[in-house]
Symmetry: C2
Subunit: 697 residues, 2 copies
């Protein structure tokens, strides 16, 4: 037994979108993490392709949103097509693909390989190339030492991992020369014989995150079974260049034919189009008692899928060239009842929820799972936050998974159903599609009350109660603090533009709030120029923040820079001409020991010279009379809205007291966050991040 | 004599901004070019830093405008400061730095090294790494064989080039540890002994472009002397991090003190600030009769510059840390009377014009020189355009250089002059500054009538006739064709947004008109849905374009794709809901032999879902009743406005007949431009360029 043994703070199993997103967080926050994958190759075609608004916001917060905007196809419009009396399809409506006003970004489409590349580049940059996907590596066993799960310093999870040969890791795809998703799932663990211990490593981890897909090995190891059901609806997928006289081929289209099934068109980058095509007639298995009567996916070919598509397209013609990828799937909705074991081993992404792909949710919700989880793990591993925050992962994300499954159940049955007399109602389909698009954007996810979301419990709102026997889906009602009438607590803070006081730049405030692991304290000061009370409270808050007893001081490690755990930002409703820089409270224009000043923490709500007026006070429903204090989580979700008075400060103090770990104080060692330029780390608006938070190496 | 000998179509001498810009064009258009530089290193600090609007538009057209927007500091505001009665400086006004509405971009600031890097990356990408700066290589002689200058196939220019050792190429900078510009100019040719022929290469070139700076060796070789004068004003420059209680340090500031001189502040990336500081007292040379009394730049130190700055800043305090670079210069305005010899050897950039740096013009105008020149050379080398177009380079750019010199003469004297009684007028200074900013943006450059700018000759407009003895500066009056009332012929076509018909995308039409070497024919069709005449002319134009006799066919090489020399674009004033795709004329939705359709050449003027209404017809002053045809040069300048009738087609036909070379026709070999994806070549809006124009390899 000369096998290798090692410790790691976090082990990620599975390098798909969920795994990459977790690794992106860990690289950004400087966590000692590893990521393994059993497949030998990255993917280069097919798979998921839609990037929803919220995902783009998150990409932007990591500094690569611009790559998505530049490279991906922007999908702007949905056209609905339905059969006329003659059984020909006709256009019935056009609507915007992204609900207008829901986000600064709109949905874009690009193949999954590019998306994983951006995260790979970001991981490389921030980890200085120390965090790389290790592949092909197959996990063999996972054990949790229950006696140690409450010890934050322990490594209670033991994972044995075998390095595969390239032959083992790259089973030949069948289905011909065209890449496809029919046989993507590699069950490398099935028949593997472990003969040589030298290829096996024993990894002791504080935390393990299973991002290993719908057939998750991690999920099975921790004894969780998916719940849900599968329908009879079979769909095929083609990534191809259509040659057609159908006029809307470059828009997203939802087509119901009279008798031949439905199609969804997703226009893609580079002249490609993804066609989701309902397969009314599919080859069935007959060779195996267990599988008998089920669809035999190995018999599905691009030609068979195209044949179905042509019937639906009638009277339009359809040929295809340059087909890049195809697959077929059977619609089902399944969700995991639990998302973790002992809050030490977590599962995320497809390991927790599977459903039909047409709403572009799988990859997005998967990435948002680990975007929710990994910063919490990072804060706990770093000793910043209490381990209790880890329980919010399941609470928050399981609800999202259930909402998704309920929505998809309804949506996919309406899309697959035959329209008209005795069938489904197309007007109901359109209505669900529009409501679903709002949900699918990811921007209305609403996290439940918890130690990191300070609000009373709210009722669920049902959508579409009167549906004909189909399950209704429901969303959590929003909760607003009257101080910020349009800021739902528990939702992501919608992006709004402000003007930088010091240099008159119009910026999205969110671009000042990068995903760097910091909590934000946004102080809406009101009109400090005209309102003496506002100016006085600004001074009170500033004095508090700079005092030795403040929550900033208490929860920031002595070795770290002062604002590296909690980052204060001031948004004034006074314009730049009415109030001087040096009259603003000092905490928001802090100097380091060399005298360097932070010029980028004070903003105003006023018209910019070239990009209009963000009207952030109006957008957030904050009165310039009263102002407000917002606490925003490292992932951009609103934790708390507090009043601009001593009581409000106390409320924020209590909030952080409940979440963060008190550090060993040593006031003298706190310095201002120094600007440190590295051309590779440069960021939007010519500002690289102002220094490195405590989480960075 | 075993020295190396070779042929090249174009040799660029000097790898500064002008040289890189020329190389960027040649890489993009697939021209056989080389670029040499005598210095051993790229620069990493200091030098020029401002990027003007027009430069950003050009960067965008090459596909790297986004890098500037992301990395550079956005400079939004100018604050004017002037002395009060007590001799203290006070803020007198704030104005936007970029004139509002003048461009889709605003001025940004970043050090020259990054800017050269973007061009280097673009050159690498498009030349597939075959075009690289060869350094250190020193040109020794240049000879033109006059008997061959009229033969387009000949290589009449012979340049001998010596490869330097690293020691020769990197003379030690004096002036201490801080990088500086005082001794940047390397006169490597002065004392060099050529002992070994093996280090010498003889290059035979069709064309040579000298981009070798203010002391241009190429200029001297072709016997051109600069004209102009030098003032007594001496200025110092510091790139530094100021520690100050001056409140506007992150804005551009123009400060006149009472007695101590003036300062310009340029806020930079990464907390840096560039300070231009007038030096009232400067060390003079005393050791040399020739130089006696002139400023001895070698005695200027950062401390001396800072000392001057502190006097001007009074009563504000100023310290500096992290100084990255410094220099000093004596203001002069010099311009070259000729820009070429035999239209075979050209000079560009600082080799043609030098002036004070504070308006951020040197690097920008230099790049715009070769942006103007290199596409013409490319078209001639490729046999697409007649060599006569090369004469337009001097005609167009010398006027710009003269305008610049006249403006700078006035501006720099007003800036350096003492304000108040007996001195200069600050209100005149402000007025000239504002007018100058419009000029400095690069967007109002107005090219003279020529074979590629079809307009009558226009008067010059004088600005500021009444100035007190200072030379007035003047701009060419605009010429408008009544069909496009707001499109000055000879100026760059201002950017405007349209909506892609096929997929509802709001795009800047300019982003469809990349700098890829193609001429554009923009057909403003009018309201084809409601106006039968407009629809009929659309069909006429389309039939013409697709006919064997059209200018598209005639001037496109048989081996090239149909629209690779002239690229037709249709902009309709009918909205997308009122007219069907297949009713638009065929030339604008052309199919290739496999049936692939071009979906990105038809646009509409209508509100987009998320980004407002571009109103391009209104912006360009084109009536939806009449429409218009615009011919736009490969560099984005408007050549011609023609009517939407048979006469208009004839006018365009005559225009191209005068400029382009008739190709050997072979209709059958023309194919549609195929979409070819390469992830590295991907471009804005998810569309990589639709195929490669004839100029690409």
């Amino acid at each position: 037994m000369a096998s290798k043994e090692s410790n790691v703070d976090v082990l990620i199993i599975g390098a798909g979108p969920a795994g990459y997103m977790a690794a992106t967080w860990f690289a950004r926050t400087g966590v000692n993490a590893r990521i393994i994958d059993k497949r030998g190759n990255k993917i280069f075609a097919g798979q998921a392709d839609g990037l929803q608004c919220r995902t783009l916001e998150v990409f932007q917060s990591f500094g690569f949103g611009d790559r998505a905007i530049k490279e991906a196809n922007h999908m702007l419009e949905i056209c609905f097509w339905e059969p006329n009396d003659k059984g020909e399809i006709i256009r019935s409506n056009r609507i915007p693909d992204t609900v207008v006003g829901i986000s600064r970004f709109q949905q874009v489409v690009l193949h999954q390989g590019r998306i994983e590349q951006w995260m790979t580049d970001s991981i490389k940059k921030w980890s200085q190339d120390t965090l790389q996907v290790e592949r092909p590596k197959l996990p063999l066993s996972i054990d949790i030492d229950e006696s140690k799960v409450n010890d934050t310093d322990a490594y209670p999870v033991t994972v044995k991992v075998k390095t595969l040969s390239d032959d083992d890791a790259n089973p030949e795809q069948f289905g011909g020369k065209i890449a496809n998703g029919l046989f993507r799932q590699f069950d490398g663990d099935k028949d593997l014989k472990v003969e040589d211990d030298s290829e096996i490593e024993t990894i002791h981890a504080k935390y393990v995150i299973g991002c290993d897909g719908a057939h998750s090995w991690v999920r099975k190891q921790i004894g969780i079974e998916m719940e849900g059901e599968t329908s009879d609806y079979i769909w095929g997928v083609l990534d191809t260049v259509p040659i057609t006289d159908f006029p809307d081929i470059r828009n997203r289209c939802a087509i119901h034919s009279k008798d031949s099934g439905s199609i969804m068109i997703i226009p893609r980058e580079d002249g490609l189009v993804r066609l989701y095509i309902q397969l009314r007639e599919t080859p069935r298995a007959d060779d195996d008692a267990e599988k008998k009567g089920r669809v035999d996916r190995s018999k599905i070919t691009p030609e068979l899928i195209l044949e179905n598509a042509r019937k639906i397209f009638h009277p339009y013609k359809l040929d295809i060239i340059d087909t890049k990828w195809y697959t077929a799937y059977q619609i089902g909705q399944r969700v995991s009842p639990k998302f973790h074991k002992d809050n030490r081993v977590f599962i995320a992404g497809d390991a927790c929820h599977t459903h039909s792909p047409k709403a572009g949710q799988g990859m997005n919700v998967s990435m948002m799972d680990t975007y929710n989880l990994a910063w919490k793990v990072a804060q706990v591993v770093k000793g910043i936050a209490k381990p209790e925050i880890l329980a919010t992962y399941e609470a928050e994300r399981r609800q999202v998974a259930r909402d998704l499954i309920n929505f998809d159940y309804k949506f996919s049955r309406l899309f697959s159903g035959k329209p008209g007399e005795g069938g489904i109602s197309l007007s109901e389909f359109h209505q669900v599609f529009e409501k679903g698009n709002e949900f699918a954007s990811g921007t209305i996810v609403d996290y439940t009350p918890s130690m990191i979301v300070s609000k009373p419990d709210t009722e669920m709102e049902k959508f579409d109660e009167g549906s004909k026997g189909l399950q209704a889906f429901e969303f959590r009602a929003q909760y607003f603090n009257p101080l910020a009438k349009n800021v739902p607590v528990g939702r992501r803070l919608d992006h709004a533009k402000v003007v930088t006081y010091s240099d008159a730049k119009p910026i999205w405030l969110a671009d000042r709030m990068k995903s760097d692991g910091r909590w934000r304290l946004i102080f809406f000061s009101g009109d400090v120029a005209k309102n003496e009370k506002a100016a006085a409270f600004g001074k009170e808050l500033s004095d508090y923040l700079l005092s030795k007893d403040s929550f900033v001081q208490k929860y920031t490690p002595a070795s770290a820079q002062l604002f590296s755990v909690i980052d204060p930002i001031l948004v004034s409703s006074s314009d730049r001409r009415s109030y001087e820089w040096f009259d603003y409270p000092e905490a928001f224009r802090h100097r380091d020991e060399d005298g360097r000043m932070d010029y980028w923490s004070i903003y105003t709500d006023e018209p910019s010279y070239h990009q209009g007026h963000g009207k952030i006070y109006e957008k957030y429903g904050i009165s310039p009379e009263t102002g407000a204090i917002l606490v925003v989580r490292p992932d951009g979700y609103v934790s708390l809205v507090a009043d601009t008075n001593t009581k409000g400060i106390k409320e924020v103090e209590d909030f952080f007291g409940n979440v963060l770990v008190e550090q060993n104080p040593s006031w003298a060692s706190h310095g201002f966050i120094k600007a440190k330029r590295d051309e590779d780390l440069v960021d939007t608006y010519g500002q690289n991040d102002i220094g490195f938070p405590v989480f960075a190496r």
